[in-house]
Amino acid sequence: MNANQRKMVYRVLPYAILTLIGVCFLLPLLWVLVSSIDPNAMQSLKMPARFTGANYADVIASRENQRAFLIGLVMSLGQAVLLVILGLLAAYPLSRYQMKYKKPFMLTILFMTSLPITAVMVPVYQLFLSIKLYDNTFGVILFYVASALPYGIWMLKNFMDSVPSDLEEAAWVDGASVFGGLRKIIAPLMVPGICTVAIFTFSGSWGNFFVPYILLNTPEKFPASLKLYQFFGLYGMVDYGKLAAFSVLYAMPSVILYILSQRFMSKGFGLQGGTKG
């Protein structure tokens, strides 16, 4: 192989490898997309003989499914709203006050962000049984809020640090209270940060399966993730088309929110953001 050929190989090889990786990643995804519009969907990816919207129509028309999506929406929205409110309140003194134990507190928070939630679910289940929150939608929301708070506080505190404090001091001159300054001056300036946190927590709980699977019992209270799993077990082998349509509909909010979040995250995706203590 001469130098020229070698150069050619170095040029083409990365494209070839990336294309291969791309195809491998695409195939499973393509199956769910194609099957959802195939009237005779099978387990394998294949070209449909004709296209149909009936799978989607059936899934959307079902009362049970509407209910599951609505519950999922209530849970994730409830969590996101509560998390932002509590997180902003907690972030304020951490960002603005001189506090003795701020550093150890922030390190504890960071530590908690990375603990596997899976590991505490058995005791949480027991706790929920004893305080009568088991099989309760609001209980699930509360647990979601608690498990996302370390991340929320950490992020919101860092976002708040970049809002200059002169602005709220000016508002105090005009007679605003500390709380008023937070609500009317700081929070509006943090909208991109708040949206990022809200979107990430929403997607996190929307896609979560384990937490509602452990904490809920009545099928009528199941959010979309559990409904899909149930659907999978009950009719998975029979009706791949509907299953795929349900999956696409269920994945949609996560996809849309991810695209939206890209608009708020102008700074790109680095791990450096966390280093500000």
Partner: protein, 296 residues
């Protein structure tokens, strides 16, 4: 006048009013997060069960759960499976593949980068149960992979029975690689191009540049990413549960699946908690390393 108001405002900040701001969050975290962690330690020393005699009478049984754990061959299998799953899908899979994609994508055609990047990201954005379903159908007996095999005249393989561990590892790679890809893309963009150019002038090969310049430069990112990806993978439940249910037999029973089975299928909550403590301790050790790497 205005100076006075600011003084008053600052005065407001100095008093104990921070308690009101922090209290709601701390209370919620204490009750629903920290208390359950403490309960994990406590329950793992009891005979807590969902049904039968011990459901009515909670008894301290000391380290019996732990003795049982060390004598239980399934525990050993689960730990082993967890380690294989962690190394295969997190350390090697997502980390190496994510880095490879980020590296190869550098300086490539913009449109091409976009297409490949979006495809990889799609697996990440998709909820885990949908991922499980996609991969289940891909590896299924009459699934896409076997269709491709038959195109080439190869016999069908029952992937989820013969090599279930490989199937769930690939599933988790499919679902998680985008995170590492994004992290490494950002890190590689920070490598000063002058450094690489200088090395090229000095006659360094691509391989030498990668080993001697790029990798040392992004070392801290590699450590941090490794910790995060491992922690995420440690808690994976839904993907495995929906794809194989931990089977066939115990072939894909990782610690989370085993914990679930003991606590909610066999109703041995105390024993299940002892297993989750094992999981928690692994998480705590990894988290401490992660924080140390962030502090540097």
């Amino acid at each position: 006048m205005s100076g006075l108001a600011i003084e008053i405002g600052r005065g407001k900040r100095k008093n104990k009013s921070w308690i009101y701001f922090l209290f709601p969050s701390v209370a919620v975290m204490l009750v629903f997060f920290i208390y359950p962690i403490l309960l994990t330690f406590f329950y793992s020393f009891t005979n807590l069960a969902l049904t039968g005699e011990s459901a009515r009478q909670l008894k301290f049984i000391g380290v019996d759960n732990y003795i049982r754990m060390f004598e239980d061959p399934t525990v050993r299998v689960s730990i082993w499976n967890t380690l294989i799953f962690l190394v295969g899908s997190a350390v090697i899979g997502q980390q190496v593949l994510g880095f490879l994609i980020a590296l190869l994508m550098k300086h490539k055609n913009r449109m091409f980068r976009r297409v490949i990047g979006t495809i990889v990201l799609a697996g990440w954005v998709t909820p885990e149960i949908v991922c499980a379903l996609c991969l289940y159908s891909f590896f299924g007996d009459e699934g896409t992979l076997n269709s491709i095999f038959s195109l080439f005249g190869l016999p069908a393989v029952t992937w989820l029975y013969t090599v279930p561990m490989i199937a769930i590892i690939l599933g988790n790679i499919w679902h998680g690689t985008a995170f590492s890809m994004l992290v490494f893309q950002a890190a590689l963009d920070d490598v000063p191009s002058e450094m690489e150019e200088a090395a090229v002038v000095d006659g360094a090969s691509r391989w030498q540049i990668l080993i001697k310049i790029v990798l040392p430069f992004i070392k801290s990112t590699i450590t941090t990413n490794m910790m995060l990806v491992t922690l995420q993978t440690l808690g994976v439940f839904g993907l495995i549960y929906a794809m194989t249910g931990g089977g066939p037999g115990t072939a894909t029973t990782t610690l989370p699946i085993f914990m679930y089975n003991q606590a909610f299928v066999n109703y041995q909550l105390g024993y299940g908690t002892a297993i989750s403590l094992l999981l928690l301790l692994m998480g705590i050790v990894l988290s401490l390393f992660y924080i140390r790497s962030m502090k540097e």
